[in-house]
Assembly symmetry: C2
Homo-oligomer: 151 residues x 2
């Protein structure tokens, strides 16, 4: 998770919502590291998890990441949770809870649905304080800047 948090810091530096993701193979090899690049890529689907899944699949030459684990600093949204299922990822570790846009323990609760064909093992709240703090700092700075602009 510390590597995913490092990736989140890269997003922060690029003025993107600081979320990072890392995908690791069953034998512990890091296959992909990614962070939010929505603005940079002009792509609303460019969440850290989606980019990491695409990179890991490219690295392995497959469209399924069976046996792999994904580490994400924030609870995945419903798009990313669905993608994790489609990619057949075995284990999901996430940091901070996202009560506003999360899709695992909140909202769509993708992995509780009978329709979700593949469900990973889920471990939430890993390094939750650190993963949450970078988001709080980011949005706090955004608010200050916005207030600065309107004054």
């Amino acid at each position: 998770m510390s590597k995913a948090l490092e990736a989140a810091h890269m997003a922060f530096q690029n003025d993107e919502v600081p979320v990072g993701a890392v995908i690791v193979s069953s034998d512990g090899k890091v296959l992909a590291t990614a962070f939010n690049m929505i603005r940079q890529l002009n792509d609303p689907t460019a969440h850290a998890e989606i980019l990491a899944i695409r990179k890991a699949c490219e690295a392995l030459g497959t469209d399924r990441l069976e046996g792999c684990s994904i580490y994400v600093t924030l609870e995945p949204c419903s798009m990313c949770a669905s993608a994790i299922s489609l990619a057949r990822i075995a284990k999901l570790y996430f940091g901070a809870i996202d009560s506003k846009s999360g899709g695992v323990e909140n909202g769509a609760r993708i992995f509780t649905l009978s329709q979700t064909h593949h469900k990973p093992e889920i471990f939430g709240g890993i390094m939750a304080r650190e993963c949450g703090e970078i988001l709080t700092t980011f949005f706090s700075l955004k608010r200050d800047n916005d207030q600065g602009r309107t004054n």
Copy 2:
């Protein structure tokens, strides 16, 4: 929708699940056409809708498709429905219902959730027969081939 169906036929020819998508701007210009490319790209997120959203955003140089419409031959899954919301697409037209993997009228019912910040207008069942038939034919051929292999 007929253009989306043409795209679905391209997927069929490439041995991909035949689903096609087209994104049109508010003034009627076709911004993107795409079809499933999961196997070709080794990318479990390469559903027609995701690829179309990425293309349309690239064409417009933005991460939001406000005012745009998306035409999809099959009810979007929860990943794609969430992406349609994130992209702020104004209108969703879809063809066949997907009771197994759909996320609009089935499963996660993404657009009924209070957590879904943007909800498009939804028009389902457009050319549903034609959009469904190509899928039925595809899976029927797959089954025949599978049976051929085991005999």
